[in-house]
Amino acid sequence: MEKPSILIIDDDFNFCQTLSTVLDACGYKTAVAVSGIEAIGLLKQRTFDYLLLDTIMPVMDGLETLKQAKRISPNVKVVMLTAFSSNEIIEKALKHGASAVLRKPIDFNKLNSLIEGPRRLADEQNINYRG
């Protein structure tokens, strides 16, 4: 089975860079976008299995990006990344089709389990999953 392709979208380039390195090392195919606009552009060119989408970004924020991404590629699974997860944001994200919300810094075990074998996780403090 081919490894899932993951698009990492974060305005912090360093974060994108290091995360993609880690995921590459784990054997995923990763791409990086440092803004929502760039991500949408990429999505129009090709499809991804997963989007790791930062919630707070300038110009076009995570939610807006999520909406557009879902329009372009309805099957893409989106994991929202957030520095701080307020219930409001989580609810909105899930409402607009996000599969899960993951807190920064990323717990890679959780991320792995999300991507490799999606399953319900009870720990709502860190992960909100709908599926």
């Binding site: 912090d12 360093n14 974060f15 290091t18 995360l19 880690v22 090392a25 701080f84 810094p105």
Partner: protein
């Protein structure tokens, strides 16, 4: 003070009333006593002098009647001696001395006693007419014992009782005094006891004169005192008032129930007539005595002094006065009682305004400044009541302004306190807000670098730079990840704190919150946790995740405070209808008083890596639920945290 008690108090104070009654009674008593004393003294003196004068007058009247009797006796004897038949008879008798010589006459003059009889001289010479006259005189007047006529030499010519006797009476004193060397005068004898029967008698003697005024004989009338003074016996004043006759030596001439001529001590000056009162030896009592002398010239001529003596027990004399006095005392007693009644009534009336004023002062003292005294006596009391009312109204005005001032002060103080509280709260919330904003910025900005670091660390781990190749690198990676974890926790806390959280209310069991929170905490085996949860507690409408966070924080702190082991007791119970309390009692190191003051202050922490936000967050969460957090602690003994939450918000 209860009103009835107040009344009692008013009723018991009756000093003025008593004083008024005393005053009236005492003045009445003084007036009555003085009046009575003056009345009695005056009455006594007046009655005494009146009665004295009266008794003296009575004595004088008795004197006059005795004098009249004596005078009429004298008249009777004078009529006898002027009777021609008597004169003729004596002349006839005297004729037998015409032819006698001097020697023979001297022989006749000799007083030869009653038994000598000279038949020659007396026999056959007595004129029956004269005898008749004498007998008539004696029998007409019962008090006359006998009447005797002598010739010029003292020989008895005739006798009313025994007829003619040849007795010469010339030797006797009374005869000589009546004959008076031939000049002749009326003679009144002293009183004496006569004969074997000892009859009280006195007598009158009168000379018999011829036409040329020459004394030719003497007529003597013997009077029985008992009969003559009989009328004195009838004289009576009351029960003890009697009249009697005495002479100048105090001898009784006539007195009922007393032996004649007995002597006794009498009071009073035996002069012109007077009256006295005093102790009387005769009666051994105080007596009222009036004494009046007889004043006929005949008495003084014969050196006699007789008195009418009237005496009466003073008790009886003054009985009317005593009766009057007794009645007067009764009347005064009645007046006295009336005075007391009037006094009581007057005092009652007098007391009414005083009582009203007293009641008013009590009322005012109790704080009733609207009370008005109603006194309409049209006197000083009314004036007093008016000024009292005026005083109370002024007092009310000033009290009202004082009250207003006080109220203002209290309100201002309250407002100031409120303001300070609000300021404190504001400052606190501002502080919290600033901290929140700052935290948000810092946290957000630090999250990404931390994320990056974690990514890198993880990358190194994947690349296998750890365990297999270099133990030191592995250790350092662990330290790095741990520190990233810690920093993340702190940042998360800061963000948590900065976030505006509205409680998401759900009805659920608080006991479950407690248990779930405790389960989440890593607890060292040397720490013993005991729970005493009230299972009957109702479901509570709370944001349970927030409350769990609070419980989690407090339990974490407790566990941290018992690094060397100990016991934490968690209890839940109901305080009252509306509040439930959860208490956390640990046996940890405790908190100093200094720190206890600031324990809920944001940014205050005693832990090396604490943000100082945990308890501040707890407090604001609980307060948002309408509850409060309390803490008590003793250094070395432990700390008690209490969360008090309302059952219904």
């Amino acid at each position: 003070m209860a009103p009835d008690k107040l009344e009692n108090k008013v009723m018991h104070k009756t000093g003025i009333q008593r004083k008024i009654i005393y005053m009236i009674c005492i003045s009445a008593l003084i007036v009555a006593s003085v009046g009575l004393a003056i009345g009695y003294t005056n009455g006594y003196n007046l009655l005494r002098s009146t009665i004295g004068e009266e008794y003296l007058k009575m004595a004088q009247l008795l004197v006059i009647s005795i004098e009249r009797s004596v005078e009429s006796q004298i008249e009777a004897i004078e009529m006898t001696v002027e009777n021609p038949a008597v004169i003729e008879e004596i002349k006839k008798q005297n004729l037998k001395y015409e032819d006698l010589d001097k020697d023979e006459i001297e022989k006749y003059k000799k007083c030869d006693g009653e038994n000598s009889k000279d038949v020659f001289i007396t026999r056959g010479y007595l004129d029956p007419a004269v005898k008749e006259i004498l007998e008539g005189l004696a029998y007409k007047r019962s008090w006359l014992k006998e009447v005797i006529i002598t010739d010029k030499l003292g020989r008895v010519i005739d006798h009313s009782d025994i007829g003619m006797q040849s007795i010469n009476l010339a030797c006797q004193d009374w005869w000589q005094k009546t004959y008076a060397q031939g000049k002749g005068r009326i003679y009144l004898s002293d009183i004496k006891l006569d004969g074997p029967e000892k009859i009280l008698v006195f007598f009158l003697a009168a000379p018999v004169k011829n036409d040329s005024g020459e004394v030719i004989g003497v007529c003597k009338a013997v009077i029985k005192g008992e009969d003559f003074f009989m009328f004195l016996q009838k004289f009576k004043i009351g029960m003890t008032g009697h009249a009697f006759l005495i002479d100048k030596d105090g001898r009784v001439i006539y007195r009922k129930d007393a032996p004649p001529l007995s002597k006794f001590e009498i009071l009073g000056v035996r002069g012109q007539g007077n009256w006295v009162t005093g102790y009387y030896p005769l009666y051994k009592k105080r007596q009222f005595v009036a004494l009046a002398p007889l004043r006929l010239p005949i008495f003084s001529e014969n050196n006699l002094q007789w008195f009418i003596h009237i005496s009466q027990d003073e008790d009886e004399t003054f009985l009317p006065l005593k009766v009057l006095f007794g009645q007067l005392i009764n009347v005064i007693l009645l007046i006295f009682i009336a005075m007391i009644i009037i006094g009581v009534a007057f005092a009652q009336i007098f007391m009414i305004p005083i009582r009203k004023l007293h009641y008013a002062t009590t009322k005012v003292a109790q704080g009733d400044l609207d009370y008005k005294v109603e006194i309409k006596t049209n006197d000083e009391f009314e004036e007093f009541a008016d000024s009292f009312n005026w005083m109370i109204s002024s007092l009310k005005t000033s009290t009202a302004s004082l009250d207003r001032l006080n109220k203002e002060i209290v309100e201002r103080r309250k407002a100031e306190e409120e303001l300070k509280k609000t300021q404190d709260k504001l400052m606190r919330s501002e502080k919290l807000a600033v901290i929140g904003r700052l935290s948000a910025i810092v946290a957000h900005e630090l999250k990404n670098p931390l994320g990056v670091m974690k990514n890198v660390a993880y990358h190194f781990r994947i690349l296998g730079l750890g365990a297999e190749k270099n133990k030191k690198v592995e250790e350092n990676l662990n330290i790095l990840e741990e520190e990233i974890e810690n920093s993340d926790k702190i940042i998360t806390n800061l963000l948590e704190f900065s976030r505006e959280k509205k409680p998401d209310l759900k009805s659920d069991s608080i006991n479950i919150d407690i248990m779930e929170s405790i389960e989440k905490i890593k607890i060292a085996p040397e720490i013993d946790i005991e729970t005493e949860l009230d299972t009957t507690l109702p479901l509570m409408l709370l944001d349970h995740s927030q409350i769990k966070e609070v419980i989690y924080n407090i339990v974490s702190n407790a566990v941290e405070a018992m690094k060397n082991g100990g016991k934490l007791t968690v209890k839940s119970y109901r305080i009252n209808e509306t509040f439930v309390e959860i208490s956390f009692t640990d046996t940890g190191e405790g908190i100093s008083a200094e720190n206890l003051k600031n324990i809920f202050e944001p940014l205050f922490s005693t832990k090396p890596k604490g943000t100082g936000l945990g308890l501040a967050v707890c407090q604001s969460l609980v307060e948002n639920h309408g509850g409060k957090i309390e803490v008590e602690s003793q250094v070395g003994k432990g700390t008690v945290f209490k969360i008090i939450l309302p059952i219904k918000i």
